[in-house]
């Protein structure tokens, strides 16, 4: 990679940073900083704006670079990820989006606490939300660090570390100064950039094959060296039964996790009504579905045009497949077209990471200030002071994420994202669904559902081959691996549901009929929604 790519990519990326900082200053002028404003952007975004922002929040660099890279290396098995990431949105649309918009105010805990004793439930739901957010943040930070190393050719540890610190600092600035309004606009800009870049590359790939998808597939299969097996499942997840169960576990986590991600849930509060929330999910399903369809073309295109061997040489995990494809599509390494396309792809990937981390930081600072701080500190406080706490929390979370991002530098990004989804599905989804749909659900059930999913999920990861017992684990020297699967979802998600049920049937508390009626009526009609 020559200096031309790097300087142009850096220029484009600086332009994006300048534009987003401009947005942040512009939207935060003359704002008094109410909680409504800070957490929910005044709740006045249109469904289309929110749909783009949700898509911008959800399509991370792991999707853009990671999934296309997996397809380029392993063919069909990479596509399984895209399917899971998309189908998950049906759970959100059918069971969560409208009901959560109607019942809650800012966070997941609002929905649960409405029916239960507030304090224990808020502490539990706040803790799990922050855990999920931090895991997801670390994944994005690690991604940012390795992206710089990959795209700008600076493999030095120092460059990676400074990137992680820089990304962390920028996200703290966006969130603590601009709140939800700035974060939303950054995500909208990012979604437009990402989709624009993806559409351009997809069109170029299809033009190269004269619009013949069949020919593209055959060329990819031919170039891969696997023949027809490249187009069928099994190259990556087809080994022993452990690998297969591992994938089923991941599939479960992907499809159920999205509905428990705090930064996705908080997006539904930025529109005025449940109907608007529904329409924003429809927008985002359209955008995300289209995006994942295009990543399939890009992945097979990279396999056919660049070839898996070249991709693997550049990065063993396949993360550079799309930038390399862009270079080739533009006319090769020494052409203007290649340089420009490569720089655009690199800048888009950076923008993606920045927008995603801003969204997660905002959601987790809301959990800290609105749930944890509000429950743990019982002193008198006004909404104004809660926003101040949230701003400080954003800084604190930024520092924690930077530190963990530097520590976890060598972990696989896709694995960390899968883990965040598994924890979200185990700890957040059961309690959310039970409180929305189960008449007899009690406070103890809610608390058990959260910890009964959160603790097993984290514990199983600690005992998995990811942490110890194999050469590529976090601590290769020691061996305390007792759980064979890398993703805990297959076990921890049912445990979360089971713990919620068990806590409910064993508690002496009589469920409050009236509060259940209130939750049910409010969730389906929107009565009393803020």
């Amino acid at each position: 990679m020559t200096g031309n790519h790097q300087s142009l990519a850096l220029l484009l990326f600086s332009a994006f940073v300048a534009v987003t900082l401009g947005i942040t200053t512009w939207v935060s002028r003359n704002r008094r900083g109410s909680a409504e404003e800070f957490y929910a952007g005044g709740r006045l975004f249109s469904p289309m704006e929110n749909g783009f922002a949700i898509a911008g929040d959800y399509m991370s660099a792991a999707s853009f670079l990671g999934i296309s890279g997996l397809i380029a290396l392993y063919g069909y098995d990479g596509l399984l990820y895209s399917v899971g990431f998309l189908v998950a949105w049906l759970v959100v649309l059918f069971l969560v989006a409208e009901l959560v918009r109607n019942c809650g105010r800012f966070t997941l805990a609002d929905v649960v606490a409405a029916r239960m004793r507030e304090r224990p439930v808020r502490i539990a739901a706040g803790t799990s939300s922050v855990t999920v957010s931090v895991l997801y943040l670390v994944a994005q930070m690690v991604g940012a660090g390795s992206l710089v190393a990959l795209l700008l050719g600076r493999t030095g540890e120092a460059a990676q570390a400074w990137t992680v610190i820089g990304v962390g600092a920028l996200m703290v600035v966006y969130v603590s100064l601009g709140g939800m309004r700035a974060t939303t606009w950054i995500q909208i800009v990012k979604a437009v950039l990402l989709l624009g870049g993806t559409v351009a590359l997809t069109v170029l790939v299809l033009v190269r094959f004269h619009g013949d998808f069949d020919r593209l597939l055959l060329a990819a299969a031919d170039r891969s060296g696997h023949g027809a097996a490249f187009l069928a499942p099994g190259l990556k997840y087809g080994g022993d039964w452990t690998a297969r169960f591992d994938f089923i576990s991941l599939g479960l986590a992907l499809v159920l996790g999205t509905a428990g991600l705090p930064h996705i849930l908080s997006r539904f509060y930025t529109v005025p009504t449940a109907r608007a929330a529904r329409r924003s999910v429809v927008w985002s399903i359209g955008l995300i579905g289209g995006f994942y369809l295009m990543t399939i073309v890009l992945g097979f295109g990279a396999a056919a045009i660049v070839g898996p061997d070249t991709v693997r040489q550049s990065n063993a995990a396949g993360n550079t497949a799309v930038p390399l494809l862009a270079l080739d599509l533009g006319g090769g390494a020494n052409s203007t077209g290649g340089t420009v396309l490569f720089a655009v792809v690199a800048a888009v990937a950076f923008a993606t990471i920045l927008a995603v981390v801003a969204g997660i930081t905002l959601a987790s600072s809301a959990s800290v200030a609105h749930d944890l701080y509000a429950s743990l500190r019982r002193r008198r406080r006004t909404p104004r002071s809660e926003v101040a706490v949230a701003r400080v929390a954003a800084i604190g979370i930024g520092v924690v994420a930077i530190a963990l991002g530097l520590l976890a530098r060598d972990l696989n990004v896709a694995f960390l994202v899968g883990l965040a989804f598994a924890v979200a599905a185990s700890a957040n989804l059961p309690v959310l669904l039970y409180s929305l749909f189960w008449r007899g659900f009690t406070t103890r059930g809610a608390v058990w559902a959260v910890y009964g999913g959160l603790v097993p999920a984290l514990l199983l990861v600690a005992l998995s081959p990811v942490v110890s017992g194999s050469p590529e684990s976090l601590f290769p020297g020691v061996d305390f691996q007792y759980f064979p699967l890398r993703n805990p979802g297959l076990l921890s998600i049912p445990l979360g549901f089971l713990a919620g049920w068990l806590g409910t049937v064993t508690s002496a508390e009589i469920p409050d009929e009236a509060k259940h009626a209130e939750t049910e009526v409010r969730s389906l009609t929107g009565a009393g929604a803020v």
Binding site: V83, G84, V87, V91, L95, D214, I248, A514, E520, A527
Partner: protein, 181 residues
Amino acid sequence: MQSSNGRPRGGGTENPADSQERHTPSAFGAPEGTRYDDPWYDALASGWGESAGDVTVAAVPPARPVPDEVATADVYLSVQRSAAFQEVRSRYRRFVIPAVAGFLTWYFGYVVAATTAPGIMARRVVGAVNVAMLAGLGQFLSTFLLTWAYVRHARLRRDRAALELRWDTQELARGARGGVS
């Protein structure tokens, strides 16, 4: 609206006389009035292959059987027990439960088949396109179709009744609180 989760609470029962007195159309008045604006709630449109007449079939009886002096908590209980609400709820559940069961089965069937039966999935259908490819694209297609079906169902069968219930409930709750909201 001061409680931390935004739920209006309490203050209901102690003053029924006041509540009766204040529960007049004028009590809709100033500060609350803005809440009735729903900028994104446009008119109900009839969907494909469905005449506008179907909308009237979807109408449900109004939910105003309740006297004025009820506590806020009782408002929600009485609305929950009203025929109108039960109709909205059952329409929601009748669509969502089979749909969720359907797409989860279809998705897990797909994941399990992809991991345990690669032989079947690798069978060629047209050109280079095999069963696995068709199943994967089928997942995309079914997601888009279910999204469309859900939105259409909600728009034609639930939205109007739910909105009426919302205003009725809020009106009752305001009456129960003595109009002090």
